[in-house]
Every structure is written in C-alpha cells, then in structure tokens.
Amino acid sequence: MNDLNKSRLIVRYTASQRINHWIIAITFVLLALSGLALFHPAFFWLSNLFGGGTWTRILHPFVGVLMFLCFAVFAARMWGNNRMTKQDRQWLRQIGDVVNARDEKLPEVGRYNAGQKVLYFALIIFMIVLLISGVVIWRVYFQDYFSVETIRLASLLHALFAFLLICAIIVHIYAGIWVKGSVRAMTRGTVSPGWAWKHHRAWFREVRGKPAVDK
C-alpha cells in the first residue's frame, strides 16, 4: 500500500471502536496473565506483574468486569454485521481452503467472514459465562450468596471458559498477524481497498467508492 492510495482507504473501524477494542485487548491480557497466575503454580510468578498474589486476586475480577462491559459495548455495535448467511456456511465447509489461504476458492465474504462470526458468538458466550462464574467465585463480595456446590461448579467453569477464551483469542490474534493488513484495521482504522476486496469482497462492494473519512 502506498501513500498515493491514501485517499482511497476504506474505513473499517472508527476511533471509538478501536479504542474500545484495545481496551478489551489490554484487559484481556491482564486477565489472562493474572488468571494464569492463579490457575497454575507454574505461572504464579506472573502475579508479580500485578504487585503480588493478593493484588492479583484483588484486581483480576475488577478488570474482568471492565473487560466485560467494554466487550458488551463493542459486541453490541457490531451485532448487525454478524448474521450467519448461506455463504458463511459454505465458507465454513471450505475451512481447508481458508487455512491454506486459497482465498480465491472461497465464497464472497461480507464485512466479517464466518470464522470471525463464529468467534464473535463464541466470545459472547464465553464472556457471559466468565462473568457469571467469576461473580460466583468472587469471595470478597459474594461468598454468602452461593452454596459451596455452586461455587465449585463456577470455579471449574470459569477456568474452563477462561481457557476456551484464551485459545480463541490466540487464534484471533494469529488471524490478525497472518492476514496482513488486518492489524492496520484495528490500529489505524482503515484498510486498503485491495485488502477489503481480497478478504471481504461483498463488504468491499458495499462500501466501494466511498472516500476515506480521515482525509
């Protein structure tokens, strides 16, 4: 992408969306690190990043709630772009082509591809489960409200979904790294028309010709 093309860039995320996303990303990292510290003794040293075990224990749930709220806003704003379509199902069936970067064989993709949509819904589920289970195991404030059986279940679910989430986000991050140009979408807000044409052609066609907002 060269500077000449700048005026032709397509806006993918507004500034507020980007900020929102990166708050989510940062809080996620904090949560993953702090959660891991508590989850496995091998990672307990990570608690030093947060000022020790006790601070880790104190901070984690608050950060979690913050993340959940930001995520909720973020996800709500993109609700409309994540309807599953026939093409999406076809896309999923051709997951082999996806992985092997045979983009040309794939059906045309809208603003988000089916993988992103699946991730999107998975994230919603994970976050809700994490929030609920997280509150149940949040002893300081909620220990009197739940039976020990509930707490046990919640502990297990929280750990389980934390890992599902972490794995999902690893995939998500990797996707961003792999598909060159994606990171720019989240950092600068814009993508090149070629990127859009290649990966989200239907979306490209929908928005083509529209000039870039950020001059």
Binding site: R139, V140, Y174, G194
Partner: protein, 299 residues
C-alpha cells in the same frame, strides 16, 4: 532447618518436592474427639480462643446452644449440638466439636493457588500460613468439611492449626489440654486408633452396636478423628459427611484441568506458529489492489 516436627510434607501451589529426607518414625499425629464422652462444655472453645488470641463477636442466640453459631475466622472450633430420637424413642443429645479435620489428602491445599499458603507437615497437620495467603477462598471451595473461613478484616483464610505451634514443641493442642472429661486426646495416629478401639468396645457393651471410629478414607484418613456412637450415621452429628471426598469438580479443576488447560493454550499458539511457517503470511498484493481499483472505477 525448621523444627523437625514442622518438616513439610506438602505445600500448596508448589510443583517441586519439599525436603524429604527426615521421616518421623512415629508416623503422623492425631487428635481423637470422643463424642460419647463430650459434655459440650465448650472449654475447648475457650482454650482455643485463649491460646490463639481470638475473640469472636458477642452474637445472638438463635434458638440453639451452639455459640458462636458457626465457625468463623475467630472461632476455629465450635460445638455443634443435635437432638436425636433413636429407634427406642429415647433422646440422644449428640454433641460434636467441629473444626478442621486435618485431612491426609486436604482439599484446601489442593485448591490453594498461592505457594506456601497451606502447608502439610510431616506429622499430618494442615496449617495455613496467612502471610502467604492471597484471600481467594479456593480453600473453602476445596474443603469437604466446610472449615476454612476468610476474615473480613484482612481477607485471609483461617482455621484450626491443630496448635502446630504447641505440637512443634512437644505439647498437646490447647483444646486437648483443657478438655475436662478427656473427650479429646492427642498422640500418634496409631495410638489414637488403639485408644478408639478400646472406647468402641466399651460403647458396644453399653448398647451402641454401631459405635465406631470416623477416619474417612475418602480423604486419605484424617488427623482429627471422632469416636461416634452411631458411626453408621455420621450425618446425625450436625451433618458430618458420611463419605467425604474432595468434590469431583474440585478434583477436575485442580487436577486434570491444569495440564490440559496449559497444553491447549500452548498447542493453539504452536499451531498458529507452524501454520505461519507452512503457509506464510496471507498478504494483499498489488494485483488485489489493482482489481479493487478496477471495480471502484466501474462505478
């Protein structure tokens, strides 16, 4: 080196083995609580409060003799009274001294995420080291006997220490020393079992056919044991669990989930890495840009 009696057998959230050269030839210790001799006088509660410098709130009476009504960070042991009418229609007042059982396989220790917050000594005592405690409450989740309590004041976990400080210097726990009826005795676990066996013979001779020792194997046995008149029905004693085990959910959470979780995470990351190595980046090239431009110009 610490006092030999405080040699550590297990330490929470620690993956490397503790020093293990010294092995006490007498085996573990145990406190035996004979519910059939206990008169519910609560002297043990007072001894515990005094020795450990604990003072609970002056609460309310809620229609029972049990006061404080539950274990708290300030009440590491409480007497639980339950009224039971047996088959003959005769009343029995079953009084149980509740508190930490000092499990051989402690659910609290298993659950604890903080290295060294929970310690199991070679003698079997399970002790909380509050200076290492982060206040997460996992021990409460892990304990099959509902014992640990998180203090509101400092958000640390507290429970009976089996007077590890006294035992370390060759003394019996404070509650044992105080018990006026000899309902609590302390010694090596083997001796306590022998003592219990004698008591059980006596109880059987007095018509308690099901008298027995409570040393639940589901948690590997305990270092606090009960002599019960009705060992077949421990639930009668204010819901003493019949076959306590570390809850399966806790076992999964603190067992297989740990390696699996870490492995899953690592594998996902590795999968990405090797995918990248194999297929390389998915780039948008000039051709794509050109075709995009083309389409745009069609307008």
């Amino acid at each position: 080196m610490a006092l030999q009696s405080l040699d550590i057998k297990r330490r929470s959230a620690t993956t490397t083995p503790p020093p293990g050269i010294r092995e006490p030839s007498t085996g573990g210790v145990a406190k035996l609580i004979d519910t059939t001799k206990c008169i519910g006088c609560k002297a043990c509660q007072v001894a515990c409060m005094e020795w450990n410098d604990l003072r609970d709130e002056i609460g309310l009476n809620v229609g029972v003799y049990d006061n404080p009504a539950d274990l708290t960070e300030n009440s590491w042991t409480v007497m639980r009274f339950s009224e039971y009418e047996n088959q003959q229609g005769d009343l029995e007042w079953l009084i149980r001294k509740d508190g930490c059982m000092h499990c051989e396989d402690p659910g609290c220790l298993k659950a604890c995420p903080s290295p060294g917050a929970i310690i199991q000594y070679n003698n079997g005592i399970v002790d909380f080291h509050e200076e290492n405690c982060i206040g997460c409450g996992y021990c409460v989740t892990g304990c099959p006997f509902d014992v640990p309590r998180i203090a509101e004041k400092d958000h640390k976990a507290y429970k009976c220490t089996l007077c590890s400080d006294r035992v370390a210097v060759g003394q019996e726990p404070a509650c044992v020393k105080t018990c006026p009826t000899g309902a609590i005795v302390f010694g090596t676990k083997e001796d306590m079992k022998l003592h219990a066996a004698e008591r059980i013979v006596d109880l059987k001779s007095r018509g308690f056919e099901n008298a027995g020792l409570y040393d639940p194997q589901g948690v590997g046995g305990t270092h606090v044991m009960y002599v019960l008149h009705h060992a077949d029905k421990p639930e009668l004693y204010s819901d003493l669990p019949k076959d306590p085990v570390i809850d399966p959910m806790v076992s999964v959470w603190k067992g297989i989930a740990k390696p699996l979780g870490v492995a899953a995470m690592a594998l996902t990351a590795l999968a990405g890495f090797f995918h990248y190595i194999r297929t390389g980046p998915n780039e948008t090239d000039a051709e794509d840009e050109r075709r995009a431009q083309e389409e745009e110009h069609h307008e």
